[in-house]
Subunit: 307 residues, 2 copies
């Protein structure tokens, strides 16, 4: 899993920080999470192929998380897209989108498959061969959802040399990859671990923005490999954070710590912070493996865990 | 008059070219013309003070000319704006805007004074002490308008030394600035040109995008100092330009030439052109004083005319 930060600002973008958008690359399948103004230009700057994006997740209907979607959907169409697009967003957004496309004379040449986010409990919203995605109810001024992406356990890999050594037929490979031993023509049992290597540990990534701190969130993201959690404010501004339905650096670090996350990325920084070094340091005091969201930066999540 | 190009792309932005937006600085009064996605970030990159923008002009309701407005209006509010904002856009846009702000929970703390653009003739939409703005009906796939900004003739400037030399009282200064001669206490007539210098020639700027070529446009922008005219395509793609309601480099140059413009800036370039040098050269063959719109570049319009 690789994560590219397309935007790390909160409501007021700066010349260095664009509004929220993340691109998660899970084994060359691209998932766009939030789509603030300018997302399509950031995607271009990061040389990300638009055609690989088949799923867009919108956390909530505040402009800094969604105003880039109209341009992007329109661009998809102008680029000749025919592949259906899966859009996960708070309920009723399909009606808002439809009326807005009409207002602006936008005719999409591909289908949008809408999945409404609703309710106050985690819901599995995607389940395919490689991963699952679950929406997580957050606590913000309006209905807001986080997302957790969990890779499924991959198959074991057969050691190439053992195929010729033990004359393993193609018909047996599937069961060996699933962990079964192999019996040779002469009836000798070859143990699975002698002819396979284990797959990498499945990774998981949780995106939690916008939200104020609440205790239940850490249990919903329990044991996540990498947690992205908004940290709009520094610890001094706890009151302001609570008032506006946002989190501080310490809130984010506490969620990561209580969840037993492997690493924490913080972002959605208020425009008041020209330099975010101090914010990262504050979070690191509670949760050392904290990293900043920086526009244009790509994190290899596996590598992040190995530090 | 200074013109900052915030976006020079057509419908598909590139990593170098943002969607349409121009900022015209007329004696430190800022006029924003079109507001494509990312305009607010471009304004920040160009260090333009948001509070100085009191007038926004929208040519037509295609996304690449307007999708930046929601973020910008919201940002104005978050920055504490109380000053009313004048918004000039095709009729009915006020209703679209209202419903969209509601959908996204945006409450503006300032008033928007809406001026609807309509009809098939030029209409003066602004007239103040310093300038006039007239909307110009264009020909595009949907209702589209250009704008011409004309500075008013400024007053003559009194030569400082002559004030003490002839003992000019403050009460006479206004009439002298307006071109009248001065009569001294002794009854001597001092000619106006001996005690004043002429003001600079008033400048004008016309913005014409999106439009296909039509003969009447050159008469509507007759004698303009600087014409911005879209040139989405090169001359080879004349058919495509006509089909999509756009112009070629040659169309733009012909309008400038027939209007007797002082200079021409072309922009709204199709994403197919990685390099725009050839486009500028094509236009220059018809109208030599052609310059390219380049994101982030500021043209001093007076200086442009002196080349």
């Amino acid at each position: 899993m690789k994560l590219t930060i397309l935007g790390s600002s909160s409501a007021l973008p700066t010349s260095e920080r664009y509004p929220s958008a993340h691109l998660l690359n899970a084994d060359e399948r691209f998932f766009l999470i939030d789509c603030g103004e300018g997302t399509q230009m950031q995607l271009r700057k990061c040389h990300i192929r638009f055609a690989k994006i088949n799923h867009i997740f919108i956390s909530h209907l505040h402009g800094d998380h969604i105003f880039g979607i109209y341009g992007l959907l329109s661009t998809f169409s102008l680029m000749g897209r025919k592949t259906p697009l899966h859009l996960y967003a708070p309920e009723n957004y399909d009606q808002i989108l439809k009326s807005h496309l009409q207002d602006f004379d936008i005719h999409l040449d591909y289908k949008i498959i809408f999945c409404p986010l609703k309710g106050n409990d985690p819901v599995q919203i995607l389940n395919d061969k490689y991963l699952t995605v679950t929406s997580l109810p957050l606590k913000h001024r309006i209905q807001s959802y986080g997302f957790i992406f969990r890779e499924k356990q991959a198959l074991r890999k057969i050691v190439k040399e053992s195929i010729s050594k033990y004359r393993i037929p193609i018909s047996m490979m599937s069961s060996i990859k699933n962990g079964e031993d192999f019996i040779t023509e002469k009836g000798i049992i070859v143990k699975n671990e002698d002819i396979t290597t284990p797959p990498p540990e499945p990774l998981s990534y949780a995106y939690c923005s916008d939200t104020k701190y609440f205790a239940r969130l850490s249990s919903m993201v329990k044991d996540v490999s990498v947690l992205y959690h908004e940290a709009t404010f520094d610890k001094e501004n706890k009151k302001l954070a609570t008032l506006t339905g946002h989190s501080t650096t310490i809130d984010a670090a506490n969620v990561a710590s209580k969840a037993g996350a492997g690493a924490l990325i913080i972002g959605h920084f208020s425009a008041r912070y020209k330099n975010i070094t101090a914010l990262v340091q504050e979070a690191q005091e509670v949760f050392p493996a904290t990293y900043p969201a920086i526009d244009g930066k790509t994190y290899d999540l596996g590598t992040l865990l190995s530090f």
